[in-house]
């Protein structure tokens, strides 16, 4: 049984997606990187479920290392 939700779970997906991207506007690459790290930590704490976090990490790493 998968704990990580992989089907759409957002009522307004475009809004959330653009909110994430827009939040980086005007940041240097280093600041963006720092912001992403802080965001990951905040969301991981919010999720709270180690198994879900592990699944998300695996899926994200697969996406990052494709090809």
């Amino acid at each position: 049984m998968s704990g990580l939700k992989t089907d759409l779970n957002l009522a307004r997906p475009d809004d959330v997606y653009n909110a994430i991207v827009d939040a980086h506007k005007g940041l240097s690459p280093a600041q963006s990187e720092a912001m992403n790290a802080a965001l990951v930590l905040l969301l991981a704490n919010h999720v709270g479920d180690e198994a879900v976090i592990a699944e998300a990490l695996a899926a994200a790493r697969r996406a990052a290392t494709k090809e």
Partner: protein, 555 residues
């Protein structure tokens, strides 16, 4: 430099060769070897301790002596001196730049006989241990007796010992190598010592300075007086401060070690009016390594000889003292009561698991303090940035997770639970908690269970224990190792039971920490780890449990 006067212990000529092997030969009179020799002596086992030197640890190394170490040394008769001379602390403070972000209290509730930590220089600790050993007829302490060769057969170990009067050979039933990180015993047997080496350099400046600083462990990330890196500050005895500057990978040791460069850093840290004298300066890097096995036939490894960790967390010396605590009673059972060698095997299994846990913890701290790759650094910095405003992030700030007893979760000595109704309570393999108790005068759980097997039975009122059950348990024995029978109660209301000690749980803490109810029973080992626990009093299960402990596992 240095205010401590190193004692010189007398050298004695090698005794004439004996016919019989000595029961235990210990190589190395450091924290670990001395602790083991004392514990064995209290259990009636003689040992020969060989040390190449004739004094205590040179320079300052270990300073943070953990609660569990103090409890063990209390049993051995040296903790009072350590506490009296040292600096007691329970609190750590973590700062980011010039502001505190996080405080941790290692003793959040009362009712422990000893504080979380006492800071005392290693040379004092060793001095007190040596002085205690010299009072023990069963400890044969030989200074300037250096081990230069090792041999072994199925049931013996042999060492060649070099002295100012020439070499001699010693045969032992058991040889315990406590000869430190460069262990000559380990090297003589050509055994692997593997792990991770860290490149970051650290500078230790121990200085003598009067100060009004509180007794708190202080850690800074990027402080104004050392903006690129971290700094750790501890108080020690004799108005000595330990300042530990992280220097990073590229630093040049020769430049950093120059007194004027150290003074420049200290001046920035303590301000224009401070005055200090240097006590000790050293530059170090560290590694986390362990042997693959700690028992090789009749040769056993303990302390830094078996495993090393980074200093963050104070797990080196404290872990080594726990090795000695684990090994002492097992050697006594093997040598005095004919317990099988497999009991010593459980030492290897339990303490290797503990060392791996200590290495895991200290590696994580080191990776946080000195991130090894760019993403690691990004997350570290993000955690620090969040820590000011977001509470959960403070818990992620890792400046060292401080030494605690490690639970032997997978030990072959553990007796599986027969009840599932346990809340937060020490499970088989875990260390038994302390609590204040009242017997004939105040005592503590630590003192009541120390150094022997203990059967701990909880009752609301003393009279709930039936005299027949009390007598059946009083009849149990464990060979030459004593068994304590402790009845812990909220209310003392009836006469004594022969062979039992009745203790009142004056703070209600023993009940709570053990999640105890009426007839909850624990079987505790002489090193104070739990062997088994029950929700009812079962003399047959206790008898089985004691047999299992002395047999090194299930029959």
């Amino acid at each position: 430099m240095g205010s401590y006067t190193y004692p010189r212990y007398p050298y004695r000529k090698p005794p004439p060769p004996g016919d019989a092997p000595v029961p235990v030969a210990i190589v190395g009179a450091g924290l670990v070897g001395l602790t083991l020799a004392l514990d064995l002596a209290l259990k009636g086992v003689p040992s020969v301790v060989l040390d190449e030197d004739d004094t205590v640890s040179l320079g300052s190394r270990s300073i943070c002596q953990a609660r569990r170490t103090l409890e063990i040394w209390h049993r051995l008769g040296v903790a009072e001196r350590v506490v009296a001379k040292g600096v007691t602390w329970d609190t750590g403070e973590v700062n980011l730049r010039d502001r505190p972000v996080y405080r941790f209290d290692l003793t959040p509730e009362p009712g422990q006989r000893f504080p979380a930590f006492v800071n005392l220089q290693q040379y004092y600790c060793e001095q007190y241990l040596v002085e205690r050993c010299l009072e023990q007829p069963l400890v044969d302490l030989r200074f300037r007796h250096k081990v230069v060769g090792v041999g072994r057969s199925a049931d013996r170990a042999y060492v060649d010992v070099e002295t100012p009067d020439g070499n001699y050979a010693l045969t032992a039933a058991w040889l315990v190598a406590c000869d430190g990180v460069r262990s000559s015993v380990r090297r003589a047997l050509d055994l692997p010592f593997e792990g991770e080496v860290f490149d970051d350099q650290f500078l230790i400046a121990d200085i003598r300075m009067r100060t009004a600083l509180p007794n708190v462990r202080k850690f800074w990330f990027h402080p104004p007086f050392h903006p690129e890196h971290s700094v750790l500050l501890h108080r020690q005895a004799d108005d000595v401060l330990r300042v530990d500057f992280q220097l990073g990978r590229g630093a040049d040791p020769e430049i950093e070690k120059k007194p004027e460069n150290i003074d420049r850093r200290l001046r920035a840290m303590f301000g224009p009016d401070a005055a200090w004298d240097h006590e000790w300066i050293s530059l170090y890097t560290f590694s986390c390594r362990t042997m693959r096995r700690y028992v090789e036939g009749r040769v056993v490894f303990a302390g830094d000889a078996a495993h090393v960790v980074s200093p963050f967390g104070a797990r080196g010396g404290n872990g080594g003292v726990a090795d000695a605590d684990n090994l002492g009673w097992k050697l006594a059972a093997v040598l005095r009561d004919g317990a099988p060698d497999s009991l010593i095997g459980t030492y290897g299994v339990e303490r290797l698991a503990a060392a791996r846990e200590n290495i895991r913890q200290s590696t994580r701290s080191t990776d946080f303090i000195a991130p090894k790759f760019p993403a690691s650094r990004v997350f570290r910095d993000a955690t620090l940035a969040l820590a000011h405003d977001v509470p959960f992030a403070r818990a992620l700030v890792n400046s060292g997770r401080l030494s605690r007893p490690v639970a032997y979760e997978t030990s072959p000595l553990n007796i599986a639970d027969t009840s599932t109704s346990w809340g937060v309570a020490p499970a088989p393999g875990a260390s038994f908690p302390d609590a204040p108790l009242d017997g004939n005068g105040p005592t503590s759980m630590i003192e009541a269970v120390a150094g022997r097997f203990a059967i701990v039975v909880f009752v609301e009122r003393t009279g709930e224990l039936s005299p027949e059950v009390a007598a059946a348990i009083a009849a149990l024995d464990a060979g030459s190792l004593p068994v304590a029978r402790l009845l812990v109660t909220r209310d003392i209301d009836s006469p004594d039971f022969p062979g039992w000690t009745i203790l009142e749980d004056i703070g209600n803490l023993a009940f709570r920490r053990c999640d105890a109810r009426r007839f909850t029973t624990f079987l505790v080992r002489p090193d104070q780890h739990v062997a088994g626990r029950w929700r009812r009093i079962d003399p047959a299960a206790l008898a089985d449990g004691l047999r299992r402990l002395l047999a090194g596992g299930p029959a």
